[in-house]
Symmetry: C2
Subunit: 197 residues, 2 copies
DNA sequence: TTTATTATGTTGCCACCGTAAACATTCCAT
DNA sequence: ATGGAATGTTTACGGTGGCAACATAATAAA
């Protein structure tokens, strides 16, 4: 029953706007999102959002940053359960990534819908950070002789590609039945390979 | 020097509009694409496009369909060079996919930017067709005992995921140096697997 | 050949959008 | 209490998707 700190008119408009945007993205997709409707949903005038975000892109950027922070935190938290098991960590990083995309599709869509001009420095920092988690977990597997001694960076790209591709295909509806089983097939396929014998 | 068939006022406005759209997507991205600018670039009034496309989505849908047709045709053409080499065909299907995305990023972006509501039946048919090429090439590898006898559908999903993910990450700028070498690492990684020994 | 029909393109319109500017209100530090 | 900074509102402008009414050109029917 702790009272929220409401230092201004609205309370915390910035957060309310982000939440409203997320709701509306979940309902009608990101492409038809309008600042004006977001403002209306948050109960403020159509120009109020511009006190908290430079423009529409800036609002979406905030959502994307939040999304990256969420995956990063969740992945690191999962890692705690696999202290000295690099392979499990590697596998878990893939699962965490896929689970996040499934659980927060609105965030995920925005994170990678930036498309051409995601020039935000903060956002770039986050995506690098997320990638480095994957990179490090592979490097540790290599040290433990669990993963082939190929270029770590390239292998991390491959791992990122497969989980990102799967997440996108699921979110965009190209994969219709994202079962738990399929998720494990995806994350294991890269490790064990498709080749016979 | 064959004269084009120009049955109407403009000649072939439908095609001109698609080409104009592709040019503008290549320049400024798909999200800022406007029907009105497309029309202007094609030299017609702002409402003319609606004689050829139901709405903006319909125009983008046409681009997406064209894209799928292009990959499909290119892949099948490449297959001719590997008549009885299922593994080469499988590998080539991945390369064709990645090459297409790199060569025609505007098409590719639209193909998968449809996002939530790509309810077009024609488009769905094409994406299934493209997927089936991958599926079949894997099935043939399994018959030849070159690929593990796991569920073909699931393995095809894995293969699609890795090439699609890579293509998206490159197009969206998350992978900065899409070298030829990296492309081969990606397409081979899934087949050989990351595991040591 | 003339005429009717259809395919295509234009003009004008409306609601909505992003966002900048000017103004109003509330908070906080002095 | 007061003055400035932070926050929210109103108004305004150009651009956008898309519909309706109109104009014209190609084609089919007579």
């Amino acid at each position: 029953m702790k009272k929220e700190s409401t230092p201004y008119h609205h309370g915390n408009l910035r957060r309310a706007l982000i939440d409203a945007a997320l709701d509306m993205i979940a309902e009608h997709g990101v492409k038809s999102l309008s600042i004006r409707e977001v403002a209306k949903k948050a109960g403020v005038s159509h120009a109020a959002p511009y006190r908290h975000f430079k423009d529409k892109e800036d609002l979406l950027c905030a959502v994307a940053i939040e999304g990256f922070d969420m995956v990063i935190q969740d992945t690191l938290k999962r890692f705690e359960r696999f202290k000295d098991a690099p392979l499990s960590r590697f596998h878990e990083s893939g699962l965490a990534y896929i689970d996040f995309a499934a659980a927060f599709p609105s965030h995920y869509r925005v994170m990678f819908a930036s498309g051409e001009h995601n020039i935000s420095e903060d956002l770039d920092k986050r995506s690098n950070e997320a990638f480095m988690i994957l990179y490090t977990s592979i490097a540790e597997c290599q040290e433990a002789k669990l993963v082939r001694p190929l270029d770590t960076f390239e292998l991390a790209m491959a791992a990122w590609s497969i989980v990102h591709g799967y997440a996108m295909l699921v979110i965009d509806g190209f994969i219709k039945d994202p079962s738990e089983r399929l998720k494990y097939v995806i994350t294991n396929a890269l490790y064990f390979g498709l080749r016979h014998e």
